[in-house]
């Protein structure tokens, strides 16, 4: 059999005309005709006025929300025509009708046909959200809805002893992402190689698990049917439910699924809008006051009723089809896309164009946006935390393709207006900021200091800046220049910052910056190779710290107080 000709016959017959949705077809037609009628411009209209760097002066004017430029054009045309007609009416009243050519009066003028504007779909406003700063018992990636890194704790004190617990399954080479804990239960998404191949094939199922956080014992487990695509991100837990993203098999789309936190029963699943790009390992829903929020790399966001999965609103106000963030370092950039935070009645998110946006939590309307890509060049990393009417952003930009110039900086924006309140450069390596958290009225940043195998000279591993003005508070670094490849993920309990490195778990007092290594190095052996744990995300609850050693290890490390005296201090 002629293989190629057979495939020509098999696949060549797939092409068939198809009729799209009528409303899509007509909306697109109107948009195209409007674009066709629009006079050629010198370039794209600016999306947004960006705030210049403040110089200590009071906040500047509020940035207007973005609208589709053709809609603005239609209204501008309408406004101009109204003014023009009004002028002629006034002129006619006081000065007589002007000579308008043959016939000589306005009645013979051709009617002006405006392109029909296409309105955004009506957004149904939900009942007003309760105070967004209310304390809610919930756990998600980044700790809380604002992704401030705060966890419930309590954290163990003193010197810590690690106890390795087998998770009882053979895991693929692809590790778990951020687990979360609420009360005495750890919730995690664990990819499992199909066929039990520890070396990992190209396909993996995923289990959503609930485990006792102090013993690691399995409480329940649910298998996703992923048909070859791994689940991603971290669960979010609130109101007796566990929420997690799950790819829809055979498509590039995603669903949000809700499970009973007590027994793992599926409660509902809701399809999500097309995100335009794959979700990342750190993507996690946010649950607040009975509403679960999700946002994708293309800037589309949704709000769903946490009990039923019914859509409260969907917002395309910040949608982009441009992908600037992937131009320079896609592996790093896309790790950060999909992160968003909820605080103070707003949902803060990035899109793949490299913009930061703030959506009104009641209806998803765009309040303001800031264009990082235009300001800094191709951004490879954007992270944010939101707290107390501020949103703090760490941005890392690389001058592609030479990678010769890197810029890492920290910016603080007023949550209500988007005015930039302060900005400060950071001295970081190629991967910029690996994580951020809020502790003791400071933003704490963990920096990657690796510069393609060489540590950045005089760089710190952890730095803290005062929230009110961005002034430097303190810094911390590994002794003897060690761990220069570290990219710590920090977690906070109260005023204490925790992260892992090859030397062990580190605890830093966020008030003073005094830190210490509080455990021995954590290592395990797999496939006759000894691995030392670093950069694992700490989960802190119920008096223990849990590190998920999912990749290769198939174990959890549960750290509790050993009762020893003072921890070994680092210089």
């Amino acid at each position: 059999m002629a293989d190629r000709e057979d495939f020509d016959d098999l696949l060549g017959g797939l092409d068939q005309p198809a009729v799209p949705r009528a409303d899509f077809a007509e909306t697109l037609r109107a948009r195209l005709l409007a674009e066709l009628a629009r006079p050629a411009s010198t370039g794209d209209e600016p999306i947004m006025q960006t705030s210049p760097i403040p110089t200590g002066t009071p906040p500047r004017s509020f940035n207007p929300p973005r609208r589709p430029h053709w809609l603005m054009t239609a209204f501008e045309i309408a406004a101009a025509l109204v003014l023009l007609v009004g002028f002629w009416q006034v002129a006619d009243r006081f000065f007589g009708s002007p000579d308008l050519g043959p016939g000589g009066d306005q009645a013979n003028q051709p009617a002006v046909t405006l392109p029909a504007p296409t309105l955004q779909p009506a957004i149904t406003a939900p009942s007003p959200a309760a105070s967004p700063t209310a304390v809610v018992a919930s756990a998600m990636a980044g700790g809380d809805p604002g992704r401030t890194g705060q966890q419930f704790g309590p954290a163990p004190s003193g010197r810590l002893q690690a106890h390795l617990v087998e998770t009882g399954n053979t895991e693929s080479k692809y590790g778990t992402f951020a687990s979360v804990a609420l009360g005495d239960t750890l919730y995690r998404v664990a990819p499992i190689a199909i066929g039990g191949n520890a070396d990992g094939g190209s396909r993996a199922e995923n289990h959503l698990e609930a485990r006792d956080i102090t013993t690691g014992a399995l409480k329940w487990s649910v298998t996703f049917d992923l048909a070859g695509n791994p689940a991603v991100g971290s669960p979010a837990v609130a109101g007796g439910r566990v929420f997690v993203f799950a790819p829809q098999p055979g498509t590039s789309k995603w669903s949000l699924e809700a499970y009973d936190a007590g027994n793992g029963h599926l409660l509902w699943e809701a399809p999500l809008p097309a995100w335009g790009l794959g979700l990342t390992g750190t993507a996690s829903p946010v649950v607040l006051n009975g509403v679960v929020y999700a946002a994708g790399p293309n800037g589309v966001a949704v709000a769903l009723d946490a009990k039923t999965g019914a859509q409260v609103w969907q917002s395309t106000a910040f949608q982009t089809s441009d992908i600037i963030m992937e131009q320079s370092e896609p592996g790093i950039a896309l790790q950060r896309i999909g992160q968003f935070a909820v605080a103070d009645g707003r949902l803060y998110l990035f899109n793949a164009h490299g913009d930061l946006g703030a959506l009104n939590l009641n209806d998803g309307s765009l309040t303001w946006s800031f264009n990082y890509a235009e300001r800094y060049g191709p951004v490879t990393s954007l992270q944010l935390v939101a707290v107390d009417q501020q949103v703090i952003v760490a941005a890392h930009a690389v001058d592609a393709p030479s990678n010769a110039t890197m810029t890492t900086r920290l910016d603080a924006f007023a949550g209500a207006t988007g005015d930039r309140e302060w900005t400060t450069p950071l001295h970081a390596g190629f991967d910029g900021v690996s994580s951020m958290a809020i502790a003791a009225d400071k933003v704490v940043v963990a920096l990657s200091v690796d510069l393609l195998g060489t540590p950045v000279a005089d760089a710190n591993n952890i730095e803290a800046y005062n929230l009110n003005d961005g002034s430097a508070a303190w810094s911390w670094r590994w002794p003897n220049g060690g761990d220069q490849r570290s990219r710590p993920i920090i977690a906070v309990v109260g005023a204490n910052v925790y992260f892992t490195g090859r030397a062990g778990v580190v605890s830093i007092d966020a008030e003073t910056g005094n830190g210490a290594v509080v455990s021995d190095p954590i290592s395990f052996t797999a496939q006759n190779i000894q691995f030392t744990v670093s950069n694992s995300t700490p989960v802190i609850a119920d008096g223990v710290i849990v590190l998920d050693l999912g990749a290769t290890s198939g174990q959890l490390a549960i750290l509790s107080s050993s009762g020893a005296a003072t921890p070994i201090a680092t210089p």
Partner: protein, 181 residues
């Protein structure tokens, strides 16, 4: 005289002409993307919109278009490849795919002529790794010659041939494994 989508040279800047062109071309462009994106209507709508918007911008710059429908499909193909590339990057950050071991010899004998379920074929095509899918689509759906496939993908002819061989083997394997309804 109203222009049709197949007119050799069409002044598409005229609204009536554009409307006629749009009516004729929309189902074909939309169908083009549906077959190549796993019958995902949302993705097909997005790509259809991108294609027509790009076309309108080009029409404004050069109002008379030679062979507008093939020209429009050229734009569509670019948008499709951009989409595949975005998908490849998105998945790559989560799971650095290893190339599958092609166990063609172990797969049951597969006769493409016997496959009549169009939806199943589209689904199997959509499950191929992105680079293989792109190569197979360009070669067997779009009818490009191998050197043209290589040029479109930015690869050598040898690399494109390898992608095609692996893509066909993978497609055969997937269609053999799936239960026939």
């Amino acid at each position: 005289m109203a222009a049709t989508a197949s007119s050799r040279t069409t002044r598409l800047g005229d609204p009536d002409a554009f409307n006629a062109f749009y009516d004729a071309a929309l189902p074909r462009v939309y169908g083009y993307f549906l077959a190549r994106c796993g019958n995902d209507a949302a993705v097909a709508e997005d790509l259809t919109q991108e294609t027509f918007l790009a076309a309108v911008r080009a029409i404004k710059a050069k109002e008379a278009i030679d062979s507008p429908l093939p020209w429009l499909f050229g734009i569509a193909r670019h948008k499709l490849l951009d989409h595949y590339r975005r998908q490849a990057r998105g998945r790559a950050t989560l799971l650095p795919w290893r190339d599958e071991v092609i166990e063609a010899l172990a797969a049951p004998e597969f006769d493409p002529a016997a496959e009549t379920d169009r939806a199943r074929v589209i689904d199997a095509l959509d499950r191929l790794p992105e680079h293989q899918r792109a190569a197979v689509v360009l070669r067997h759906l779009d009818g490009l010659a191998v050197p043209e496939v290589a040029a479109a993908l930015g690869k050598s002819v040898h690399a494109a041939e390898s992608l095609l061989a692996r893509g066909r083997a993978n497609l055969k394997k997937r269609l053999s494994e799936t239960d026939h309804g």
